[in-house]
């Protein structure tokens, strides 16, 4: 740096600016030698920067609601993906003798007490049919008449009629049992066990309880709920990723190219935006199910076919629906961001350096709207779960043996008053799952984009 005499700048006497001329005189050529590696490392050590993600994480950690939601999500993930490994029942395993179990049980001793009590109260005044016949026979012989088979049948029929009210009162008996239990002060114990399982347990065997009871086929509800949660979460996450990829690419291209390309692409978006999604998703799910099933069952093998078979036709049709319809919101958001970002100097610089459009989008534009992308993706998950449960509830969701929270709720609707827990358990888990994702998404938005916070 050479300062010529004639360009000497007059300095204000109160200026705090260092006198550069004196400084230059103090410098020796050594000062201009390149820094050693050690010095460089020291420099980096000194100014450890707070990265975007660290900053966001710091903000997120302060948000108690979001952190609780994150905890719930982690728990649900473990519940859905690790849980089934710990439980010895299968989701489509019919546990014989364990049908229609409530999520509670009475101990064997208590049951015995109740039975004894009931037996004591209803001392049998039922007359044995054979005894009656024998009596009638004796009577008939006394009178010197012939006891015919017809008479015997009449007596038997009469006895049957007499016994009938006793049979039908067995329903009352269960009410009776309840009141007896109440009088004896017998308490319910959590978790459901079948009679056989209780006996095995009494013999010292280790029996895993049916925590949420079982359904009408004896399938363990806990395991089914776990698998249902797994289905819901997988659908949510994969659908969100699908939406992310399509939406981000489409939006970025549309925003970056601008002009006629943008106009045409935006017309398409408007068109899809106007389509009532749920209706069309329902339609696609309905139509694709038989089409894909037909495809899977057709002759020959191919990698695509086995892929379809593994995922199941319903999940695929759901993903297709998402890929077709749900990316528009994402693409609109990304486009808006890109429109702003592409005016920035670093984009101009990259272009001046000869970077291609694709590179600019990949390396400069998309990383700079990562906050928006993450938030929108995260908020897409609950809406996908919502949709999956909706479709499953209507019976066009996940295929039959595999449970889904929505289809479990439908199945439970018929026995709603007697087996309320069957309806409540999947509904509550579904609601908690969606709630947690919603709250976490909100927290993430606040953390990643503090300007948006209201």
């Amino acid at each position: 740096m050479i300062v010529t005499e004639d360009k000497k700048i007059k300095k204000c006497p109160v200026s705090l600016q260092p006198d550069i001329e004196n400084l230059l005189q103090d410098l020796t050529p050594d000062d201009f030698a390149s820094a050693s590696r050690q010095e460089k490392d020291d420099f980096i050590q000194d100014r450890q920067s707070v990265s975007y993600w660290k900053d966001a994480w710091r903000r997120l950690k302060k948000n108690a609601v979001a952190m609780v939601a994150l905890g719930v999500i982690v728990f649900l993930f473990l519940f859905a993906f690790v849980g089934p490994l710990l439980i010895p029942y299968g989701y489509d395993e019919f546990n014989k003798g364990a049908e229609n179990l409530y999520p509670y049980h009475y101990t064997l001793e208590d049951q015995q007490r109740v039975n004894d009590e009931i037996a004591a109260r209803t001392q049998s005044d039922v007359v044995d049919v054979d005894e009656m016949i024998a009596q009638a026979k004796a009577e008939a012989e006394k009178k010197g008449e012939k006891f015919t088979k017809k008479d015997e049948a009449v007596i038997r029929a009469k006895a049957k009629v007499a016994a009938k009210p006793a049979d039908s009162s067995s329903e009352d008996q269960s009410v009776d049992e309840d009141s007896v239990r109440k009088e004896l002060g017998i308490k319910k114990h959590i978790f459901g066990y079948s009679q056989a399982e209780l006996e095995r347990k009494a013999n010292g065997e280790n029996v895993f309880p049916h925590v949420f009871g079982t359904d009408m086929y004896g399938r363990d509800i806990l395991v089914r709920v776990m698998y249902g949660a797994r289905v819901s979460m997988s659908v949510g996450v994969f659908a969100a990723i699908l939406v992310l990829v399509i939406g981000a690419l489409y939006g970025a291209i549309s925003g970056y190219c601008g002009g006629k390309v943008d106009a045409v692409m935006q017309r398409i978006v408007e068109l899809i935006y106007a389509v009532p999604e749920m209706l069309v998703v329902l339609l696609i799910a309905t139509a694709l199910k038989p089409i894909l099933t037909d495809y899977v069952n057709s002759a020959g093998t191919s990698p695509l076919k086995s892929f379809v078979n593994v995922l199941g036709p319903n999940l695929i049709s759901m993903f297709i629906a998402f890929g077709l319809l749900y990316w528009v919101t994402m693409s609109r958001i990304i486009r808006g961001q890109v429109l702003q970002l592409k005016q920035q100097e670093y984009v101009t610089a990259a272009r001046a350096l000869g970077a291609s459009g694709g590179r600019i989008i990949r390396r400069h534009l998309l990383p700079n709207c990562i906050g928006q992308i993450v938030v929108t993706t995260c908020l897409q998950i609950p809406s996908a779960i919502f949709l999956e449960s909706f479709l499953s509830y209507l019976g066009v969701g996940v295929s039959a043996p595999l449970p889904s929270l929505g289809s479990m709720a439908t199945d439970a609707l018929s026995g709603m008053y007697t087996y309320t827990y069957r309806l409540i358990v999947p509904s509550v888990i579904l609601s908690i799952m969606i709630l947690a994702f919603n709250l976490f998404g909100d927290g993430l938005r606040d953390a990643l984009d503090p300007k948006l916070k209201k």
Binding site: E270, L271, V275, E277, V280, S389, Y393, M416
Partner: protein, 314 residues
């Protein structure tokens, strides 16, 4: 305005056309023919049937035939559910029930949601706000069948408070409508409340509110005349999607409460694979939703003069 209207209408019609095409093509691709039943007809009968209904022609010809028939109000006849009854006839018969339930649900959602949102905005950060936020977040996290199930378990049946019928029965008057409308409107209510709250907060921080305060207007006047009016505009925008959501949520709620509406019928037709009914209902409902969106959009432009009409969209 006129030009904009024509453009939007054209777009709406194009969308309806596309949905109709998609519906037809999807349903056409479904394997199996409508004549498949226990008794397989003979070859000649099949050929005659196909010829009679035009099923022997190429797909695009069938598509145009179908679209032409729709324009003439002919959606075909039901094949399974109500054999040989015209689909249009069924729609005309059942849509009013759905529309009534849906409209009532939406009405209560807005009438309750907007004031709740305002309340939350005024009491920002206080207990009221927190409680309302919890309720509303919960509300948008519960699918309508969950809400309906909870209502059914707690408020109907013989073991609980038996206040309302669990099965829709129009002879019970207003009591029949309470539960379905509540279940259907809960999500839109919570959504509206959230929207109103954030719009209201946005609106309250604007300069014109400061001006109004500075010139000494009463709080009531500021809120209702200045803040709320502007806050309602974004709420109106979401009305269109809400109509769609309420109609689709109706599928579930109508099934749960056995309401003899179009939604339940649609679901039944899907379960029974009665394709003409599925197609007709889809196209009808899609057209209805798209037109409602159009109306809401136009209303929105009228309500907010700041929005330029020549440049569509934000």
């Amino acid at each position: 305005m006129g030009k904009y209207f024509v453009k939007r209408l054209g777009m709406a019609i194009l969308t309806i056309f596309l949905v109709a095409c998609l519906t037809f093509l999807l349903m056409n691709a479904v394997p199996g023919s409508p004549w498949l039943s226990e008794k397989t007809p003979s070859e000649t009968t099949l050929a005659a049937l196909n010829a009679k209904y035009g099923l022997d022609k190429p797909v695009y010809v069938q598509l145009f035939m179908y679209l032409k028939n729709i324009l003439h109000g002919d959606f075909g006849v039901s094949l399974k559910m109500q054999k040989n009854r015209a689909v249009l006839d069924i729609i005309v018969d059942m849509f009013p029930v759905s529309a009534k339930v849906g409209a009532l649900a939406l009405l209560w959602a807005i009438l309750v949601g907007v004031p709740l949102g305002c309340l939350a905005a005024f009491k920002r950060g206080k207990l009221t706000d927190s409680i309302l936020r919890v309720i509303c977040t919960l509300g948008i996290s519960m699918p309508s069948f969950v809400v309906a199930s909870v209502l059914l378990v707690t408020l109907t049946g013989n073991n609980a408070l038996n206040l309302f019928p669990s099965i829709f029965d129009p002879s019970q008057g207003w009591r029949a409508y309470v539960l379905p409308c509540f279940a259907l409107g809960f999500y839109p209510m919570c959504y509206t409340a959230r929207q109103t709250r954030s719009a209201m907060l946005d609106s309250l921080s604007q300069e014109y509110i400061k001006t109004a305060r500075a010139k000494g207007l009463k709080n009531k006047k500021i809120i209702f005349k200045h803040a709320l009016r502007n806050a309602l505009i974004p709420v109106i925008t979401y009305l269109g999607p809400q109509v769609a959501f309420t109609l689709c949520g109706g599928f579930v709620v109508e099934s749960v409460f056995s309401i003899p509406g179009l939604g339940r019928y649609f679901v039944q037709s899907i379960q029974n694979r009665d394709y003409p009914v599925i197609m007709g209902t889809t196209i009808f409902l899609a057209a209805f939703i798209i037109l409602m969106n159009l109306v809401v959009d136009l209303l929105y432009k009228v309500a907010d003069p700041r929005i330029s009409l020549t440049k569509g969209g934000e």
